[in-house]
Point group: C2
């Protein structure tokens, strides 16, 4: 029973569960300690405070999806994909991985609400673990034939993120079922089409310019 390491883990686990279930608004010293069945003073003693506890939590291995998880393969396999396939795979993978991480979603919600030391801390932790936008879509970061690639990328990633976050509080969006696999297949289909015609356009254009 007297095991500080175990108590630390209990607190982190409780924080994560509480975050996933009730959202960041319900996260607090009192609620976490209550959920963990532990006195709240131990949060201060072992972590220093709420901020440090959550920082530890965000370092948990399965908290942020890695590039490999999103792509669903090793980095060698990733490198061997052509860019069109890779874009599609990573974007779909991001949907898949984010959808099964309610606590992670909650951090994204939090970042949308307020900016403070805590959210900065958690944002930093995310970037450290490879969940950077640069990795998400391998379109590159420059203009191709006058097309603003980062802007298009931003719009697609944002769209994905919003729909995932929205699924917590809405059943449908524009008629698309956000709680069924078929609904998400429709989103994936839209992404595929966009990627497809997008590359067609770029290649077509550069072809005609080469002639």
């Amino acid at each position: 029973m007297r095991n500080s390491e175990e108590t630390r883990k209990k607190l982190i686990r409780a924080a994560k569960e509480l975050l996933a279930k009730k959202g960041f608004q319900k996260i607090g010293i009192n609620s976490i300690a209550r959920k963990a069945g532990v006195d709240k003073v131990l949060i201060y003693r072992y972590f220093g405070g709420l901020q440090e506890l959550l920082r530890e939590m965000a370092k948990t291995s399965d908290f942020w999806p890695t590039l490999e998880e999103m792509a669903g393969g090793t980095s060698e396999e990733i490198k061997s994909m052509d860019i069109r396939k890779l874009s599609s795979t990573i974007l779909k993978g991001r949907i898949r991985e984010l959808r099964k991480r309610p606590a992670t979603q909650e951090i994204l919600r939090w970042e949308l609400m307020e900016r403070n030391e805590l959210t900065d801390e958690l944002h930093f932790e995310r970037e450290s673990q490879g969940d950077e936008l640069n990795n998400l879509v391998p379109f590159g970061t420059e203009n191709i034939n006058g097309v603003d690639i980062p802007a298009v990328t931003a719009l697609i990633i944002s769209g994905i993120t919003y729909l995932i976050l929205r699924s917590k509080t809405a059943d449908t969006f524009n008629g698309i079922d956000l709680h069924s696999e078929s609904g998400w297949k429709r989103i994936e289909g839209a992404i595929d089409i966009m990627i497809d015609i997008f590359f067609n356009q770029i290649l077509e254009k550069s072809d005609s310019e080469e002639q």
Copy 2:
């Protein structure tokens, strides 16, 4: 000084300002009454409670953008536009109108966080005032040539919404400046390109099928 109607307005104004400035987390009976310089018991007496006060607030004329505001013209002018131009205009208009309504943004954030009687109420009020997704993009709601129009629409609208909400707590997204006009011009450019190649694709396809 003794004017219940004026007091009601003061409370609604205070709620709106507080929402815009501090976000929905700071909205409460005490804070609103304090800001309005009025006793909190009057909120109960005049509105019944916080919920009813906010419902009234959401009925304010300038709270939700109308279709005409987004399109930037009368409904006759809207009807006379071709679909490509109309899509582009409305989407850009939505960005413009939503960007200058911080209190409205806050409701969207709220809807993203939790679902309760309050958010349902506010959501309903929004739909009543014409801010329905069906109006936002006149693409129609069916499949064209096997392309899932509602899904593509959902992705674009979601992307716009997320980027606007994100601008509260982030300076940039994927390198795009969310606080400068030039940054939003880039987003608009991305939308235009997507609309453009999207319609090209659809028309091209139906052309080739007609042959």
